[in-house]
């Protein structure tokens, strides 16, 4: 198991936006990341995009994991736009769940870092999120150095 080596540990928001409530996957992924040493902020399903942006800001997360099993991924590009508008465009966003092949490019083009569909292993998910969080932390630290030299 790759543990998150960041200090303080990577902060990851696991959430579901839109209307769907299937949360078995998001709960399992949250447990995976937590067990790998990350700090997981977990929300119930049906968050509004505005609520996710606000929470991401307040909790100073590095990565947002959005789980979609019943077409909510269709509004993920709107989440990406809202994050950019809020000055959080540097956060990593990962999507998991059921994303039909032909609807994946739109998410990746919108800035989603990766899509973990069915069959993704625990290792793949943990490693990717850890690496993404590390990259985001670099950007955040660079910004901080600019503000507080």
């Amino acid at each position: 198991m790759t543990a998150s080596r960041l200090s303080p540990p990577a902060r990851v928001l696991i959430t579901k936006i839109g209307l769907d409530g299937h949360d078995r996957g998001s709960r399992i992924v949250a447990a995976y990341l937590r067990d790998a040493g990350m700090e997981v902020i977990y929300t119930p399903p049906w968050q509004s995009i505005a609520a996710v942006v606000k929470l991401a800001m307040e909790e100073d997360v590095d990565v947002i994991g959005v789980s979609s099993l019943a077409t909510d991924h269709l509004i993920v590009p709107k989440l990406m736009e809202a994050l950019r508008d809020a000055g959080l465009g540097h956060l990593g966003v990962v999507v998991g769940g059921i994303i039909p092949e032909d609807e994946r490019p739109a998410l990746l083009q919108a800035g989603v870092s990766a899509i973990h569909g069915p069959g993704s292993s625990r290792e793949q998910i943990v490693e990717h999120v850890a690496a993404l969080a590390a990259a985001v932390r670099e950007i955040k630290n660079a910004e901080l150095r600019e503000i507080v030299p």
């Binding site: 769907d20 409530g21 019943a70 092949e101 069915p118």
Partner: protein, 560 residues
């Protein structure tokens, strides 16, 4: 029976059994411990010795007789095969109507309406992002929408299940449509498929709309109203499906479901209702996983426990009240996104498990269930799967065909024992309502889900195409996903908005006031004004929002 008992005493039996044990031990090499999904260790062979052969009548008996282990009717599928009830939900009411007709033409014998996720959230179509509308269910927000959805469907002759969580607006719309068409409510048959608010609170966060105490009261009101005015409607469907889909093992699922049924029955008794009147319209709704024998044992054990609980604990006197009537749905979580055509084979195995377990009605998943809302083609194959099993496979010739199998009877007993232990644990916690409120059930399900996933991850549980036999050739995955036509959906929303402007606002106000008043008066039945509001042109979202304001908003308890 006697013959078996005699055989057991024969030294030849002991000798042969001993010889087999020795041969098996020598040839198998290092044997591994096999446990089913419920954690019960499975032996390589079962013989008459594994089960106490005594108590045939008490434990196994005859179909249609207490404790109904072998089925709830004397004739079972030989007399009448199961109802072929496909769950359908897509697009606009017109899209639904088109699909319903296709499924009925293909051999469906009853229908089931699944509303759009926006409906499940308790809101109308003009309150959400239009790209999400109709992707997973049909947008039905008014009685007019229901009328369009059921155009030329003969109400009163065809059973119409509604996936209709509290406060049961879809049934209200259906009753309004029946009235318009001159069909008496006494002729309306079907089931409120999503009446089990506890299962929503615990495991299916699609549906949770009202606070727990509010939902508890509305359910009893709903039962009371239906028993009085819609006597052939099943107002209660206790749902094990959500919990098993969320990760509960088959044993946990059955125990939790029976505990839930006990809770609802007790709530009706506390209201002063006659338990025999209540229980005859109790139904159950389960997932059928691919763990074949375990599912068969699950249903047989569940049937036996329920008969005992209904008779002995709830005091029902009419034998019809002891019957465990259930609808089965082939399990979606067993299906894979990878190599999706393989799902046809999985659905077939699941369906056989349900059929030989003596289910009353069946939904078979389309093979693209794990990816998207079924297309016409995949929906047709799902229906055909049932047709083939019913017409070609001779599954209906013999009642409880696996009964008497040393393995199945032993497993039925073992699972019954485990289920009863869990039911006792929930009793200790004060019953299902309190156990759910405290998060006890949620945490057990969460642990089981994680344990199963770990077995998939480490290869202990194999899934073809996922952790073995993976294939790179998955051209079919590139198929364009069917989504509702956005322009037509926007037109539907526009018509809905215009409808809201044009209806009599005074009638709407009056109906909502009456609903709010009833909600605040514990002596009133709150479901009667729900139906009246539907008739006055009040929308789904308006009814839910009124009751949410009066009875409290439902938030799930989410445990990681």
């Amino acid at each position: 029976m006697t013959k078996e008992a005699v055989q057991l005493s024969l030294p030849e039996f002991e000798q042969a059994h001993g010889r087999w044990r020795a041969d098996y031990g020598r040839q198998i090499g290092s044997d591994r411990v096999i446990r089913n999904r419920s954690g019960i260790e499975i032996a390589p062979l079962y013989t008459p010795r594994d089960r106490n052969g005594n108590g045939f009548l008490e434990k196994v008996g005859f179909p249609g007789q207490y404790p109904f282990t072998r089925g709830i009717y004397p004739t079972m599928h030989r007399g009448r095969t199961w109802t072929q009830r496909q769950l359908i939900g897509l697009g606009t009411p017109q899209d639904y109507n088109k699909r319903v007709r296709l499924v009925l033409d293909a051999g469906g014998t009853a229908i089931s309406l699944l509303p759009c996720n926006s409906g499940f959230r308790g809101v109308d179509c003009d309150e959400v992002d239009p790209v999400l509308l109709g992707t997973c269910g049909t947008v039905v927000n008014t009685a007019d929408h229901m009328d369009e959805a059921l155009d030329s469907v003969p109400l009163g002759r065809i059973s119409t299940a509604m996936n209709d969580p509290s406060p049961f607006t879809l049934l209200a719309f259906l009753l309004v449509v029946a009235k318009r068409r001159g069909v008496p409510w006494t002729a309306i048959t079907g089931t409120s498929n999503q009446s089990d608010y506890l299962s929503h609170f615990i495991a299916n966060h699609m549906f949770y709309r009202l606070s727990l105490p509010g939902a508890r009261r509305v359910l009893v009101d709903h039962v009371e109203f239906c028993r009085k005015h819609v006597p052939n409607w099943n107002p209660v469907s206790v749902v094990g499906q959500h919990m098993q889909q969320a990760g509960a093992t088959p044993v946990e699922t059955m125990a939790f479901t029976l505990s839930t049924a006990l809770q609802y029955a007790q709530d009706c008794i506390d209201r002063g209702m006659d338990i025999d009147v209540v229980l005859q319209r109790f139904t159950f709704f389960f997932d059928i996983s691919i763990s074949f024998f375990e599912e068969v044992a699950k249903f047989r054990a569940g049937r036996r426990i329920w008969a005992r609980l209904a008779r002995e604990r709830l005091g029902a006197k009419d034998s019809r009240s002891w019957r465990f009537k259930f609808h089965g749905q082939t399990s979606g979580v067993d299906l894979t996104e990878q190599q999706p055509l393989n799902n046809i084979a999985r659905v077939t195995v699941q369906a056989i498990a349900g059929i030989v377990s003596g289910l009353q009605s069946l939904h078979t998943d389309a093979y693209d269930e794990a990816i998207t809302t079924p297309t016409e083609e995949t929906a047709r194959i799902a229906v055909a799967t049932q047709n083939i099993l019913r017409e070609e496979a001779h599954l209906c010739d013999v009642i409880d065909p696996l009964g008497g199998s040393y393995y199945v009877e032993t497993l039925t007993d073992q699972m019954e024992y485990e289920m009863e232990a869990l039911i006792a644990k929930i009793d200790e916690a004060g019953g299902m309502y309190k156990a759910a409120e405290a998060g006890l059930i949620q945490s057990m399900i969460g642990q089981s889900a994680l344990a199963f996933q770990e077995k998939v991850d480490n290869g202990e549980e194999k899934i073809v195409g996922v952790n073995c036999y993976q294939s790179q050739e998955e051209a079919h995955r590139a198929r364009a996903t069917e989504r509702p036509d956005l322009d037509r959906m926007m037109a539907h929303v526009a018509r809905f908005k215009a409808y809201k402007e044009e209806r009599s606002q005074a009638d709407v106000r009056r109906a909502l006031d009456a609903l709010a008043r009833a909600a605040n008066d514990a002596h009133e039945n709150v479901y009667a004004p729900v139906v009246e509001a539907a008739e006055a042109g009040v929308t789904h979202g308006e009814i839910v929002s009124c009751l949410r304001a009066e009875l409290g908003f439902g938030h799930p308890l989410v445990a990681v």
